[in-house]
Symmetry: D2
Subunit: 384 residues, 4 copies
């Protein structure tokens, strides 16, 4: 099932902002989503089947894949500058060294369950070859970028149930517009503060004399214990701690997109701010957590062409100068959007039962909103 | 003036905890200071003289130096494992590459104003030679560790007014026990969220089956704009924003001490958590900020001897195994103590007028506590 | 075909040392191979079938996999300290971030062709689950380590022809003893200085008062243009330059094994010396090269247990003190063995024709030895 | 004594090339010096006084400072993109973290003896303030870049004899044109392969369809034991090993200048190739060695302005595309020029007696050239 077909991107559970939560002070983009960055698309494939006792290699299956496409063109031929920051490397982000070396991404960014990384990488290779039949024949190899979190609590991880077709469907079905959140795509089997987690997104608009830029965030959120949860500064988790059992094997993958014309070093600086937003949700980036941030810019003036005529090898770029006026608003945007994207993952995710009857419940939005209201932090609508 | 002589380490302004602020859930050490880690000492020299218009190179002077001594022995002969993490490298931490390469510190850790780094480093060399007359004659060279923040708003930075004697006095006068906070030592000329900042400290005790460890923190806090300030989750700063002019050229140096037996890699993991505590005070780690974390362990079972007999070169160490049970409490301790140490710097710092009549006011604790009380976040005494 | 079954590990072509080449001054181990480090095993699976024109996805096939097993026990339960150094990151080394974070390897190290990385990683997961059925059920996930070079010139890379069974066969068939070199395993389709390249190995023994240690090296060598080749300081390549066409898309994966009791930081220092040996063969680490060094120690006194009883979490380790006496011989060993392992890959590799009739010829040992003899560099036997 | 006044930059001892040594295949620049990169200047101050027994803090003095100025303008206002690579961090390179963070250098690059770093940094601050009186008053702070090697064998290091005036004299006296090599400036007290070492320089010209670029190198060479010395592939050192006593506490600082329009990431790639040239001289980058590479580009199309008008914050840059055609020649240039610069340091350095009667003799060029001739490696003039 491709979440983009027949899946309502805004089901019954509200986003944080719809409940009146206001994270930070910068305005959001129109959709408050990573897709507010013009050209960025997101696709999910969701795999849910089987129930009952874990049969390793067979099921139950609660997993799959989410892809982010930085722009609408051919990514291999028209790469985007990028950087990957590792906060806690108990995890994998295939492709990281080449992004480090060359400062760009030439692949859709795929997120999935931990043990699926090999198969998803292989599927991205298949996709790249389909789009660029010359890969590894007359031109160089290809660097797929795949991040992961562990869906161990709900899913038969050993089964590596993702299939090449799932990845291709997510890429081919990737769309602009609203992004499905919560229990979807790579987020299907994920847990967050002991509740159901998964995919969340948010965005911010930065207006300055230098220009108007969008920062869009998407997270695969899968970390934390209930008592750690902080919502907009309120330690909501301390009111929840007794109610949910919480073996933590968390992780978070954060994808930062922007149209601000930054190269790899500037993007690395953006990526390094995402943990500051993560921290505000209560995370301590636990030992077992694989916490990664992938940042890219799809501004045209910083693109990295695959083919360059020898006589035109000095590329004319337009790159944002880095100073407090230009960078601090972008940093703030990353911090705010990270925090809100994680909350959206938590707020939107729906209860799911997985292997061995393990259940991750949707976070109790009534308790959360009551706590926020008591602390004077709710400006908007009530819930339910 | 040496702050350790005749300086009351607990003047009229209260620490955050004395006002009822409770950061996190772990217990503090006895002093709630970096000196709770047995063996750690802190020394300050404070230099305040002159007033009125800036005369570059002459004054007014609002600066000086703070030193942290990891243990009571000879640091050159008995080094401590250490790691330095850079969150935003717009700044200096002399000695960082050797700490990276060899995984240890052999010097007192000195903090000072930005342009003083050269002279303070030179003074640490003088001190090391005094203690180890064989340095650079029959044995290897010496690696001083010096971090800095900019005291530009109040101090005649161009004057580099620190003297070798100031550094030696801070080292020789370093003591166990309560640590002077706020407008003292390297913190003399620092600003924090547009108010007066400087030195702050805090600690946490971690009790587990693996052992009982102390994590102690000291910060030189010099960052932020008023509207960013968050205290225990409450966006106090939004109530203050209008009242203080705020050109930001911030920075923070964070020193993490522990007696948990970790080597450099484990300590780097601790260091990487300090930004998560920093984030909770509202920081976005602005472009112009030099944000560094220096972490060391002074546990005897992980010390690095300078001289090793060739036949005994395989050192018997006792090193903490890293897993969620052992590391997560230490990570939490770092996050909590970072947040609280920054608040202590803010709460304790006293108003200071510097060059050109520039004033940094002590943070308005009445407004802050009112805001916290309104949000239900104050458990303790009132202020004033 | 598993190269360890029915494949003569010492076919007609001689190793560099058999021809009288003497690299460096340290003694080699008994086999002059990575397997001189007690406990280390190597396995190859070689896949050669089809001929003629490239049919993308079908063949001809000239590829497969080589695995290095750090010790004979269960690697997941009894991990080895390790570090990965990236010289030029135009390539992939899956698993690198977790090795960085936790300082250890818990997987066989697999080498393969570039586009096979996903499938080989997936096969290592299958192997780890077979050995540890609790992975991702009651215990944490698993971090496979897979490096790669491009076998584009000879192989149908797009086909990703490696199969799970190939990887399992290489792991299960891995042996102590002499290591097959040249056109074998992952080396099957590789090129070296425009000639046939592939697998090479070498070792050195370091004797000091601190102890006697072995350093073993294995390379997957796939780089360089003919005119760059230097053998033992003699620019042999300049005499060869006209004779071989040389489109360079090189790479080298270097695996350093030792029984010297070093942790991750010390091993990283060893890893950083391998490029110095690489340089002596003439490499400039070209733009298109993915040049990685993976170093591990299998000394018992530094092993990293997967399970630790909470009450015994302070591990008693024996770690080599780092000073010039202890480290310089190990560094020299790495430099010498890297150079010699690359020469062995070149000397042992046999001519292979691949896709589209592309041929990589075995290096002309007669020309090379003549050049060396003329320069007074040959101490031993002649060739042929 | 300022080496640029009254010091013959080409004294009696010849450069490697003058003796017929031909390193690599690329053409050198006109001067075969770092100053072949248009705009780059070099200045030395040399301090030699006193003789006899070491009186710590007094003398004998064999030390001082060398500075490299990337261009002729105001470096603080018109910064150059740069990167610093650490091969072995047993040493210091003050300023490294800010170069990492912001990707540029705003200071002359100073090289000196290890314990002088603090004072030299302070002198660079004084110079920067003289040129830019607004530093740390109305504008941000300043990041001096200072590298070092240990001149312990000949010099009274404890004395830190460098003075602010020495540094200012080196900066003010810096010139285009031929560069004094050997026993001069920071190189005064340095040792190389057990002989006298110090300053060396070399350059290469890269011609391609993308443009014609110069790569210039300057080294402060202070490493190695006699038996390690390799000259153009010939293990000359093995013939010298008995003749010179050699306690090794080496280090090398390498400065790479280019006018190829590269930003920090591209320059980091260049910097990482310098160790490959270092390796070819026989270095193993010993434990006690502080081995650093500082690379910058002074191309106008990549300069980093200090002040940017908010409305013009998107800078129009011209940046070299990175591919094998553009980068491999630059990499080769770095490798070749590093090797030759080190040889020039060795060949040019003149015998010097220092503290306690310690002598470093000039390398025996007759023995070296005989060995090269015997190996067929000498194309040019004889010596003497």
């Amino acid at each position: 099932m491709n979440a983009n077909e027949g899946h309502d991107p805004a089901p019954s559970r509200p986003r944080a902002r719809e409940l009146g939560v206001r994270i930070g002070t910068l305005p959001t983009g129109r959709l408050n989503a990573i897709t507010d960055v013009p050209g960025v698309r997101v696709g999910h494939t969701t795999l849910i089947h089987g129930d009952g006792e874990l049969q390793p290699g067979i099921g139950p299956v609660r997993t799959d894949v989410t892809v982010i496409l930085p722009h609408e063109g051919n990514l291999f031929l028209d790469k985007v500058p990028a950087a990957i920051h590792v906060l806690n490397g108990f995890g994998k982000c295939l492709g990281q060294e080449q992004v480090d070396e060359l400062g760009c991404i030439e692949s859709p960014i795929a997120l999935t369950g931990t043990l699926n990384v090999g198969l998803v990488a292989d599927a991205l290779v298949a996709h790249a070859i389909r789009e660029n039949p010359e890969i590894a024949i007359t031109t160089s190899s290809f660097n797929p970028v795949v991040g992961e979190c562990s869906d161990q609590y709900l899913n038969d991880m050993q089964g590596r149930h993702v299939r090449e077709a799932d990845v291709l469907a997510a890429v081919d079905g990737a769309t602009h517009g609203a992004v499905a959140e919560g229990t979807v795509g790579a987020g299907t089997g994920m847990s967050l503060f002991g509740y159901k987690g998964g995919i969340g997104t948010s965005s911010r608009i930065v207006v300055s004399k230098a220009g108007t830029w969008t920062v869009g965030l998407l997270v695969l959120a899968n970390f934390g214990r209930p008592e750690q949860l902080v919502v907009d500064g309120v330690s909501v988790g301390r009111m929840l701690a007794q109610t949910v059992e919480a073996p933590e094997r968390g992780s978070i993958m954060i994808v930062v997109a922007t149209d601000a014309p930054l190269l790899d070093r500037g993007l690395r600086r953006l990526a390094r701010r995402a943990p500051l937003g993560l921290a505000r949700t209560g995370s301590i980036s636990g030992h077992g957590s694989g916490d990664y941030v992938i940042a890219f810019s799809n501004a045209r003036s910083v693109r990295v062409p695959h083919d360059v005529a020898p006589g035109n090898a000095v590329l004319p770029l337009g790159v944002l100068a880095e100073n407090s006026q230009t960078m601090d608003p972008l940093f703030q945007a990353v911090v705010e959007a990270t925090e809100e994207a994680i909350l959206n993952a938590l707020f939107r995710a729906t209860t799911l039962r997985g292997r061995d009857g393990n259940i991750r419940f949707a976070a109790p939005l009534d308790v959360i909103t009551q706590a926020l209201r008591a602390a004077g932090r709710l400006g908007g609508a009530e819930y339910p």
